[in-house]
């Protein structure tokens, strides 16, 4: 039987997983960490510590600043030095808590042992609360607060939990290593999320280029099934290798053969998707009382001599990570935080890691050089490659004409910014750059309209 994958679009970049054999190693703790209060989608967290306070690892630094927001915990023990805006990796100022590290003392109640806790609590609400208190956010890239995602709006019903182990971005190997080294914890985490969602079936989607991970997780599931019936209904699905399979909507299509309608959420087709790293964070938060204080980061690139998968404390300066592995290679011209397709170029090495930082990738001039764009030849490759079924060439033209109405009608807001259009364009037209601009403009209009409608509805109520 042909392996499953999503039904439209996608590209096949070389997977370049050169750091796949490097085990996850803990990185030394830097002397100072810089913990941003905006590490998730939604409202930034509100600091609850003051300058001069002593904190331990795992203590709350900031509280959620709204419904869609998350707790921020200290990743080190030490003294709060300052709470002030600091440039993030794009240079934008973000409120950041600076902590001078003293020792490595953990807060009480956190289980730092390696013992695997396999009992799944009965009460889903209690699990959810622990996830919330643990500051768990989606570690697949979007950093959406997990407890919000696991509380489906009334009226919608979850039919399947999908654990995303695709890691379809080239170069990235942190999820792969997590599956291999912490497979048990990931599966227990998946079972915990499953319990929150009312015991729905759970599929762990892994791409076929990670056969070791597929075999290992299958073994783990068999083993855990003997421990408790709570592990029934968890299965592994091997997926065809294709980018962007790790996109939430693409993965739902691949696993369930259901397509999320334009503008809709995954829950509207009965799916909840969580990343492998998120499942691990859920395990830590629920079974070990350990909030997100560290995450695994792949440091890689053909020009980088020391490949590594590191367990890095949140808020570690990027420069510290790179220096500990021998510094920036001479022929590297670009450093990317994340994968080569969707990651962001790093403009500021003094920026610190966030919960969602997945990789640091070094690229040479030949690898990153853009070719000069030429005229569109209407070959339609971008439309073929778009996994959301959009027509990038059309959106590009509409953006140039400034036609926001037609952009909206052509669903520019559905763009997931995966970059397949730009990757496949033979004329090297910067489609993604333009569509991203167009999407931002249209989203602004949509939001303004929603706000106006809300205000009008409230006015009529009165």
């Amino acid at each position: 039987m042909a392996k499953r994958t999503f039904s439209i679009g996608g590209v096949h970049p070389h997977d370049s997983k050169i750091s796949r054999s490097c085990a996850i190693e803990p990185l030394a703790i830097p002397q100072t960490v810089y913990i941003s209060v905006a590490q998730h989608i939604g409202a930034p967290a509100k600091p609850v510590v003051a300058v001069g306070d002593k904190v331990k690892v795992g203590e709350v630094l900031a509280e959620p600043g709204g419904f869609v927001s998350a707790f921020i915990h200290s990743s080190v023990s030490g003294t709060v030095k300052s709470i002030a805006p600091r440039a993030d990796l794009a240079g934008n100022p973000q409120m950041t808590i600076e902590i001078a590290v003293e020792g490595d003392e953990w807060a009480e109640g956190i289980d730092t042992s390696d013992t695997l806790v396999t009992e799944i609590p009965e009460d889903g609400k209690q699990i959810l609360e622990k996830i919330r208190l643990g500051g768990v956010v989606g570690l697949g890239g979007a950093t959406f607060p997990t407890h919000v995602k696991l509380s489906p709006p009334p009226g919608s019903k979850c039919e399947m939990l999908i654990i995303n182990g695709c890691e379809c971005e080239p170069y990235l190997t942190s999820d792969f290593r997590t599956l291999l080294e912490k497979g048990e914890q990931v599966v227990v985490g998946a079972a915990l999320i499953k319990q929150v969602l009312g015991g729905v079936p759970c599929t762990i989607g892994i791409e076929e280029n990670k056969p070791e991970a597929i075999a290992h997780i299958n073994e783990v599931i068999e083993k855990l099934k003997k421990v408790s019936p709570k592990y029934e209904g968890i299965s592994v699905l091997s997926l065809k290798k294709r980018y962007p399979q790790g996109g939430e909507k693409q993965l739902i299509d691949a696993v369930m053969h259901r397509q999320v309608p334009s503008g809709g959420l995954p829950i509207s087709v009965g799916a909840v998707v969580q990343n492998v790293a998120t499942a691990l964070a859920v395990y830590d938060a629920v079974q070990k009382n350990k909030p997100i204080v560290d995450n695994s980061v792949t440091v890689t690139g053909e020009c980088f001599p020391a490949q590594a998968n590191l367990l890095v404390r949140v808020g570690t300066p990027l420069r510290f990570i790179i220096d500990s592995l021998g510094g920036v290679p001479e022929n590297a011209v670009k450093i990317i935080s994340g994968g080569p397709m969707m990651g962001k170029a790093v403009a500021n090495l003094d920026a610190a890691t966030l919960k969602g930082t997945s990789a640091l990738l070094f690229l040479t001039a030949e690898q990153t050089a853009r070719k000069a764009p030429s005229a569109c030849i209407r070959c339609g490759r971008c439309a073929e490659a778009c996994p959301m079924g959009l027509e990038p060439f059309l959106l590009n033209r509409l953006w140039k004409a400034g036609d926001n109405e037609k952009l909206e009608a052509n669903a520019v807001a559905d763009c997931i910014e995966c970059g397949c259009c730009l990757y496949s364009c033979p004329a090297n037209i910067p489609l993604l750059d333009m569509i991203r601009m167009a999407k931002a403009d249209v989203m602004k209009i949509i939001r303004a309209r929603a706000a106006a409608a809300k205000a009008a509805a409230e006015a009529t109520k009165k």
Binding site: N92, K334, K344, A347, P430, R436
Partner: protein, 312 residues
């Protein structure tokens, strides 16, 4: 044979007359009454359809101008006072002569004073670049140098200076339509009064970082030190959010602020004489010294109570 020809002519003539009657009636029934002055106004407009007036082209402006009770809110920056005079004559309104304006770039972070911290190799557009990061220098407020303003200008009045990496406005061509100002994602271009004989002084920086940070990013940044505001005897300068701003309505073009600015962020152009920096500095310092002495003398005279206050 001849009868066929006659009948053809008769039928077609009658048919033509009938249809023209129908057309006439329809035209009367669905007549769109339009003020003939709209056409007249449109005729005197520059016809650039640049949108500088805030309307979607010259026709839209003409419609709005005819509808409006006066011309206070309708002004064509491209045509200036000349065109507005004609418009006013057609409409029978009065028009207040407006001082001519010009686009002014509020960044002087040239390549030599603003060191690069990264190289941008993405799509060369300021808007795209600004959405990705704060820019390839330490200054997150300064010019991005991709020339969106150049592209936006319909009059060919802006060009990039390859040496400084900053846009240059050609005063003769600039119509102050504001298209460049709207195109700049950093909001660096201000439409300012041209000033008498083109003479004007402005703060050529928008960096709102605190002094040391601004200075580190760019040697000629405004550091918000406030010396200019203290120097100005016309109350024309305000320092807000670590950035000074000179109100063109109050500025008397004395150039004292320009001479006193420690980073050279204040620019003055089109003056007949070059800036006598030392002379003005000496003059200002002398004046400030005298003012201090006068204040001290005034403080010494009254009771000790005020003296204490002064000390505090």
């Amino acid at each position: 044979m001849s009868q066929t020809i006659i009948w053809t002519i008769v039928i077609l003539t009658v048919l033509g007359l009938l249809l023209s009657l129908v057309l006439y009636l329809v035209a009367q029934r669905f007549k769109v009454v339009e003020d003939p002055r709209i056409d007249e106004v449109e005729k005197v407009m520059p016809g650039a359809n640049c949108g500088g007036c805030g309307f979607a082209g010259c026709r839209a402006f003409a419609e709005a101008a005819v509808r409006a009770p006066n011309l206070d809110n309708n002004y064509c920056p491209v045509g200036g006072n000349e065109v507005m005079g004609k418009v006013a004559a057609i409409l029978g309104y009065e028009v207040k002569a407006k001082a001519p304006e010009v686009a002014v770039v509020r960044c002087n972070g040239t390549c030599s004073v603003r060191p690069r911290t990264s190289n941008y190799d993405g799509y060369p557009s300021c808007k795209v670049k600004a959405a990705l990061y704060t820019g390839d220098t330490g200054c997150s407020f300064g010019c991005l140098g991709c020339g969106d303003c150049v592209e936006a200008c319909q009059f060919g009045a802006i060009s990039m200076n390859p040496e400084t990496g900053l846009p240059v406005v050609d005063e003769a061509k600039c119509t102050a339509c504001g298209a460049c100002s709207r195109a700049c994602p950093k909001g660096l271009i201000e439409i300012r009064p041209k000033g008498p004989r083109g003479m004007r002084v402005w703060v050529s920086c928008r960096n709102q970082d605190k002094g040391p940070a601004a200075k580190k990013a760019c040697a000629s940044a405004c550091i918000g030190c406030g010396i200019c505001a203290k120097t100005c005897t016309h109350d024309a300068i305000v320092v807000e959010n670590n950035i000074a701003y000179i109100d063109p309505a109050k500025c008397k073009l004395c150039r004292e602020c320009e001479a006193m600015c420690p980073t050279g962020a204040i620019h003055g152009i089109n003056f007949p004489k070059p800036l006598d920096k030392e002379g003005i500095k000496a003059r200002v310092q002398e004046r400030q010294k005298k003012a201090r002495e006068a204040a001290a003398a005034a403080a010494a005279k009254p009771s000790e109570e005020t003296n204490e206050k002064e000390d505090k």
